[in-house]
């Protein structure tokens, strides 16, 4: 694979025992359209960071860059000190092999807007699949942990149900349990409640709150201002591929400094 050089080549600082997620100058283009125009972000371990912004602002794309579902064009992202998608060797960056990327993703859980449960597997099998296949753990152990996780998200009685037999809220809770089964140190939520009927949103947010209280590091792309205000430790408002404003969620929501943030919050509140 060819080495990728960075703009300004001094580029990537050495790994440090700093933030759980540290992104600098992240750029991403789809063809000629630049979706991310230099995103900086730091999320400490145990922090809940909410990404807010109008649709098309690039927040979901940025989230997908963190676990390398999208390749970034410039800048860098570190998770727990480890550079995502690339290896530094002799002052140059080398693309990681598919296997190494897969290994990095194991520690990063992701929850999708459309759940993306495996429809041919039961709720329990959805949760046990990756630990068995990827982590090669013992079947009995995984089964026990998966059942406990499903119990924790309130689905202890749905182990044998297929996704098509579950409501949207239940499916999303299975998806959260599935991600947690890999014992991640970071959880990414990509609009986890946007595809849900209004009366089902609460049950998913409750599970996420519970997770936050347990000290999980979370980055949440959401339109749920109430969740951001109540659970968030930090809020990042993005628009048009850049971070417009960030800070304490309660302060930003109560008193936005930037015109764009004001206009957006006026519409959604």
């Amino acid at each position: 694979m060819t080495g990728v050089t960075l703009p300004g080549q001094t580029g990537v600082p050495a790994a440090e025992s700093g933030p759980m997620v540290h992104a600098e100058q992240v750029h991403k283009s789809f063809g000629s359209i630049e979706v991310l125009k230099g995103i900086d972000l730091q999320v400490r371990a145990g922090e809940v960071c909410c990404l807010l912004g109008p649709s098309g602002s690039g927040k979901s794309t940025f989230l997908r860059c963190i676990n390398h579902l999208e390749k970034i064009n410039a800048g860098w992202i570190r998770v727990d000190g480890e550079l995502i998608g690339y290896r530094e060797r002799g002052g140059k960056l080398h693309e990681m092999r598919e296997k190494e990327v897969a290994a990095q993703r194991r520690a990063i859980g992701m929850v999708f807007q459309r759940f993306n449960l495996f429809p041919h597997k039961t709720a329990l099998e959805n949760v046990t699949e990756a630990p068995l296949l990827v982590r090669k753990e013992k079947r009995a152990e995984v089964r026990e942990r998966a059942a406990a996780l499903l119990e924790r998200v309130g689905l202890g009685d749905k182990l044998g149900n297929y996704p098509s037999q579950l409501s949207g809220g239940q499916q999303q809770r299975v998806a959260i349990a599935r991600a947690l089964a890999m014992k991640p140190k970071l959880m990414l939520f990509d609009e986890p409640t946007s595809a849900l009927d209004p009366e089902l949103v609460g049950e998913v947010l409750d599970v996420m709150k519970d997770l936050a209280h347990d000290g999980m590091t979370m980055i949440v792309v959401t339109h749920e201002i109430g969740f951001a205000r109540e659970v968030g430790d930090s809020l990042v408002f993005m628009d048009n591929g850049v971070v417009v404003e960030s800070g304490n969620p309660r302060e930003v929501i109560a008193d936005p400094k930037h015109e764009r943030t004001k206009a957006f919050l006026a519409k959604v509140l």
Partner: protein, 326 residues
């Protein structure tokens, strides 16, 4: 009070007792079909050319049963080649490597363009190209000549082309290689029908490409792959009769025709062939049914979900628009 009784009276009206619509056209159709069926049965029973006793007598003779076994063996082996090679070619077609994509395209193009009958006869005559088929270092003579060694040979093993490429193997290769081209297209369509989000979710869990294909994508693609594959299998059962021209003798149609031409009872043996193929196809259809049911697991076509769907359709009439699953 009067309002209450009024309400309960409106809640439960008399069941409707209307005169049903008459369908005279249906009775005409039944009458016409009845007459046609009667004529057909009459033909079967009275026409001596059918020679039923002769047909039943000869239909289950050992050479014929051996022919059935040969046809089934040919069906199974050529479909196996077709499916395994088809998966490989489909994956090549979806690969990011342009060379593999090109090879896959060319393979599909060639084997879909040439008729199976032509392929079968062509493979039966490949012995004309090589007397022996040998495996070893390619271009060994040329390499030997390069280094000044006369008659340098680096061959591990080989066999006579006439031995290996007669009959069964030639027919199997012709049918199997041709089938692979069709199966590749079916499998490609199946893989592409699986939602992209499935791959992403599996990637996010740290699975690699092989694991995703094997455990997540292919099982779901099977739902799309199985019905046309059943079709292909039935078509293949019938196409096994083409290898009679390779020629392969351990095959059903060859054996039935042989009896027919030896005894001058051609027609009864053609009827026997029809009946044999009907029987075998019916067995395949039953197998397909169970396969489809297996791979419908977790989808709305599976039994439980169907029951739930019915329940929703009944209950959903009055309820405020419930969203339900995706």
């Amino acid at each position: 009070m009067s309002v209450d009784t009024d309400k309960s009276a409106r809640a439960r009206p008399e069941p409707i007792q209307a005169v049903p619509v008459r369908h005279p056209g249906r009775w005409v159709a039944v009458a016409v079909i009845g007459v046609l069926v009667a004529m057909f049965v009459h033909l079967l029973v009275t026409n001596q050319a059918f020679n039923w006793s002769f047909m039943i007598d000869n239909m289950f003779r050992p050479p014929i049963v051996a022919g059935v076994r040969g046809s089934i063996a040919l069906l199974v082996t050529s479909m196996l080649i077709g499916i395994v090679l088809g998966v490989v070619i489909a994956i090549m077609r979806l690969s990011e490597n342009p060379v593999l994509r090109g090879v896959s395209w060319a393979y599909t193009w060639f084997f879909r363009a040439v008729p199976r009958l032509v392929l079968a006869i062509l493979f039966g005559n490949l012995g004309i190209l090589w007397a022996r088929i040998e495996f070893g270092l390619p271009f060994d003579r040329q390499i030997g000549a390069l280094f000044g060694i006369q008659d340098f040979e680096a061959r591990l093993f080989g066999f006579s082309a006439v031995d290996i490429l007669t009959g069964f193997v030639a027919g199997m290769l012709a049918l199997g290689l041709s089938e692979a081209a069709y199966m590749a297209e079916i499998i490609r369509a199946g893989i592409q029908s699986v939602d992209e989000g499935q791959t992403e979710a599996a990637q996010a869990l740290g699975m690699n490409r092989g694991q995703i294909l094997r455990r997540i994508v292919l099982p779901q693609a099977m739902r799309v792959i199985v019905p046309p594959t059943g079709n292909e299998t039935i078509a293949m059962l019938k196409d096994t009769s083409l290898v009679a021209f390779v020629p392969v003798s351990a095959e059903l149609f060859f054996q039935l025709r042989a009896v027919g031409s030896r005894t001058f009872q051609v027609f009864p043996m053609l009827v026997a062939a029809t009946i044999w193929y009907l029987l075998l196809t019916s067995v395949l259809l039953a197998g397909q049914h169970y396969l489809e049911r297996h791979f419908a697991k977790g989808t709305s076509r599976a039994g439980q979900a169907k029951a739930r769907l019915r329940g929703m359709a009944v209950g959903g009439g009055g309820a405020t628009g419930g969203g339900g699953g995706v």
